[in-house]
């Protein structure tokens, strides 16, 4: 198990290394002059030359690459050539907001998806099952940006139940200032008992979370259903029933235990997808997260920031993969494969 994880960590590190390298090389070969962006279009050629030195662009590519790697290990991702602020700082500001969105949507996807999937599998081939399957596949086929717009039209424009965009009402920041504990606004507001802000944050979060979780939710439901159907047809489920165990125990102990590992694994991976989907969702809901950051960076060809976000996403994804691996490794059947083959 330890060795297994060590190997996975090694692979993860390798993946990160490749990602950084490729992103760095791409940025280096793309015909856009960071120095020019750094000083602005009206700058003189002396200013540009100075900027080149300031940014280290006068050095050979290899040196720049090694410097970048060394700095990256120290947590320094360079300066945004647009905002002139450290990329790591900009990321640090954006990550908690995205994280909170992702966490809640994954939680929602897991709970609702699992429930829907179990119910659907248990009532196989009933109208409810058919509905749930069609619902899931429709959600999977819906572009999330469009779903966001539709949700806005319904809940904001027409019904006026929920705010259209944004993270919270700005005025509340002044009347009920938020104490930072974890950096995750909603969690902080709950911890500190700042209920007005918590409510407001939650209200703003409903639509983005719904949009973001819809895909994972549908995927979880489909996955749960199909695995559960398979599991329910296994001999050990027949055995559990044959030995007189109650249906509740059979379903929620014997069957689910064999389903949950796979679902959690899938969900860990789909959290990575959710992370990327925030790029779209944050754009629609003006959410000040990583997605917004990369959108802006891409539009401005702010390469240090693009590489930074890419590296962040890579780290997050590698970690999530690791979580998935651990979940898999905890399954006694895998231990068999590890030890016995």
């Amino acid at each position: 198990m330890g060795k297994f994880l060590a190997r996975r960590l090694f692979t993860g590190a390798f993946v990160l290394f490749v990602v950084v390298t490729v992103a760095f090389l791409l940025a280096a070969v793309v015909p856009s002059d960071p120095a020019e962006k750094w000083v602005g279009p009206h700058a003189t050629s002396e200013q540009k030359a100075a900027a080149r030195i300031e940014l280290g662009l006068d050095k050979p590519l290899v040196v720049r690459y090694v410097n970048y790697l060394v700095n990256l290990v120290k947590g320094d991702m360079g300066m945004s050539i647009v905002s002139h602020r450290p990329v790591s700082v900009e990321l640090a500001e954006a990550i908690p907001n995205t994280l909170e969105l992702v966490i809640w949507s994954v939680a929602l996807a897991f709970l609702a998806g699992l429930f829907l999937g179990v119910y659907s599998a248990y009532k196989e081939n009933t109208a409810l099952d058919h509905f749930s399957r069609f619902f899931s596949i429709s959600i999977i086929s819906t572009p999330s940006f469009w779903l966001a717009l539709i949700l806005q039209i319904i809940f904001s424009s027409t019904l006026h139940w929920l705010p259209l965009t944004g993270q919270m009402d700005t005025v509340l920041k002044l009347t009920h200032p938020l104490t930072e504990v974890t950096g995750l606004p909603l969690l902080d507001s709950i911890i500190t008992g700042n209920w007005t802000v918590a409510g407001n944050l939650a209200l703003h979060m409903v639509l983005p979370v719904l949009t973001l979780s819809s895909f994972s939710l549908a995927l979880t439901a489909r996955m749960t259903r199909s695995i559960l159907l398979e599991v329910l047809n296994e001999d050990y489920i027949r055995a559990a029933r044959a030995y007189g165990l109650k249906e509740r125990v059979v379903l929620w102990r014997h069957a689910i235990k064999n389903v949950i590992g796979t679902v959690v694994t899938m969900l860990a991976l789909s959290a990575g997808n959710a992370l990327v989907n925030t790029f779209v969702v944050e754009a629609v809901f003006s959410w000040p997260g990583v997605g917004n950051l990369i959108a802006r960076s891409v539009m401005n060809l702010d390469y240090p920031a693009i590489i930074g976000v890419t590296v962040f996403a890579a780290i997050a994804y590698v970690l999530l993969n690791l979580v998935a691996d651990i979940v898999i490794a905890l399954d006694p059947r895998v231990r068999l494969a590890q030890g016995g083959n």
Partner: protein, 521 residues
């Protein structure tokens, strides 16, 4: 164990979803008065007032101040300077600074600080520093007396009132401190907090030298809120959650105008849209063809359908409200017949060539102008490829060392960095060795000379400078290196109970929160 965990998660989720119902509806009644101005993009790119050269002025004009400001009517308003004097030879200016001006940090403004901050800006040499070209020295000659020594006569008031590179700030802070982000100026509002791509919060500075009128409900907080979705901006405004909105799509105006709670400020601005024609590449290296294109631009349709009458057709290089505008300049109109004649003169009677039109991807107006232009050109046998590009790639292409590789038509908006037409002429139509903003690659020695002369004498005689500019403009219009499409209005809808809002085209998009107050009950 697992079940308990799941139950807990479910409960937590339910609570967070239900909470709003319990608490969210009650808007805090005791909230201090605030004004919210909604922008479509984060204005804060560079926090250093010495380097800022983008939309930051929206925030900086409220937090920092310049010596002088130009009013909406073009008059100079004393700000940090109470009075100024120009020497006989036009080469020395003395500004008397206001007494008792406090920075947000509590420091008191001295002439030395003012000189130091401007000198720091000049040393850094970033942003719009070129406007100080011709200033030899800035020094404090007394506790509150600031002296500018010039190399040549300059219209210095237009420089010290510029929207960029002219702020007076506390020079003792480091560059790192400023980019932290921090701000320390003398303006009526002080900086409180910033969330990237979301908001900037400013708070009333109680020690503002101008004082705060007790009889008006001025705003404790001023909030710059970023909302990239036009629909959201509009909704926030109609819901009353925000007070002023920047750049509402013209399509929304009809709906907004019908709302009694909303007023719309619709004022001419200094912002003009130009289509630069590549004068160094066939077929647009031919004057007649360029003139023909100028006749083929469907100006009326653009004004009506793209801008929905929130713009006027441009007349010449300079917008009508800025000094230097020539109301008698020649104006091209859509005229297919004339265009055909000119095409024939240019050797392309039936068109039969293809042009590349590049615009900034995402700019709806540029895109639509392109689409309308494409239609118009198609009628005379010219094919137009309308291509959206990122700002960068568009410029990179336009600046390609080989003119033949550049695009044929490049779209560009221009507005001044200060209250002066010089940028319109010099940046766009003066010859350049390396392409900067002269995106048509236009080069005419006569025009170059006229522009240089105009700039030189603008320090001594505005009228003489205007005459020179007009002379150059006539040649430029004749040569048609660019199509002058329209001059935009700045359209800003705001809540009807917001008082004191006046559009000032010199400082585009800036809302001076100090002037605002809550009306009604």
């Amino acid at each position: 164990m697992k079940r308990k965990l799941m139950a807990f998660l479910g409960l937590a989720l339910a609570v967070t979803l239900l909470l709003p119902g319990l608490t969210g509806c009650k808007k805090a009644a005791e909230a201090p008065l605030s004004v919210t101005y909604v922008l479509y993009a984060d204005p804060m790119v560079d926090w250093d007032p010495a380097r800022s050269w983008a939309a930051e002025d929206v925030m900086m004009q409220n937090v920092y101040e310049t010596l002088v400001r130009v009013g909406p009517d073009g008059k100079y308003i004393p700000l940090l300077a109470t009075s100024w004097q120009e020497s006989e030879d036009h080469l020395k200016w003395t500004f008397q600074l206001r007494e008792g001006v406090k920075f947000h940090s509590g420091k008191v403004l001295t002439a030395q600080m003012a000189a130091d901050s401007l000198n720091r800006t000049l040393e850094m040499g970033k942003s719009a520093c070129y406007i100080w070209d011709g200033v030899e020295e800035i020094k404090a000659v007394g506790e509150l007396t600031l002296e500018f020594v010039l190399e040549r006569p300059l219209p210095l008031l237009n420089v010290v009132s510029a929207a960029y590179a002219a702020y007076i700030y506390d020079p003792s802070h480091t560059t790192e401190w400023y980019t932290a982000p921090n701000a320390d100026g003398t303006g009526p509002y002080k900086f409180v907090s910033y969330v990237r791509d979301s908001e900037v919060i400013l708070q009333k500075f109680p020690d503002y030298w101008g004082g705060w009128p007790a009889d008006k409900k001025t705003f404790e907080y001023a909030i710059l809120k970023v909302v990239s979705e036009a629909a959201t901006r509009r909704q926030l405004l109609t819901n009353g959650e925000v007070d002023i909105v920047e750049q509402v799509p013209a399509d929304d105006l009809a709906a907004l105008a019908a709302d009694p709670n909303i007023k719309i400020s619709n004022e001419p601005s200094y912002q003009q849209l130009y289509a630069f024609l590549n004068t160094q590449k066939p077929p647009l290296n031919n004057k007649y063809i360029r003139q023909a294109l100028s006749y083929l631009m469907p100006y009326e349709d653009i004004i009506r359908y793209v801008m929905l009458d929130t713009a006027t057709q441009a007349r010449g290089v300079v917008p009508p409200t800025l000094w230097g505008h020539n109301p008698d300049a020649f104006q091209y109109t859509y005229d297919e017949a004339k265009a055909k004649e000119l095409l024939a003169l240019g050797g392309k009677p039936n068109g039969g060539f293809k042009l590349l039109y590049t615009y900034t991807a995402g700019d709806k107006n540029e895109q639509r102008v392109g689409e309308l232009f494409k239609d118009a050109l198609a009628r005379v046998g010219i094919e137009l490829e309308v291509r959206g590009m990122t700002v960068d790639s568009k410029y990179n292409l336009a600046r390609d060392p080989d003119p033949l590789k550049r695009q044929d038509i490049t779209m560009l908006y221009w507005w001044p960095d200060n209250y002066d037409p010089q940028g319109y002429y010099y940046s766009q139509f003066h010859s350049e060795e390396e392409v900067g903003f002269n995106l048509g690659g236009y080069s005419s020695p006569t025009v170059d000379a006229l522009i240089e002369e105009a700039i030189d004498i603008s320090g001594t005689s505005i009228e003489a400078a205007i005459a020179k500019y007009h002379e150059a403009e006539t040649i430029i219009i004749e040569d048609a290196p660019a199509i002058f499409i329209y001059c935009e209005n700045y359209v800003r809808p705001y809540r009807a109970d917001l008082m004191g809002f006046v559009e000032n085209p010199v400082y585009p998009n800036v809302v001076f929160f100090y002037d605002l107050y809550k009306g009604g009950d």
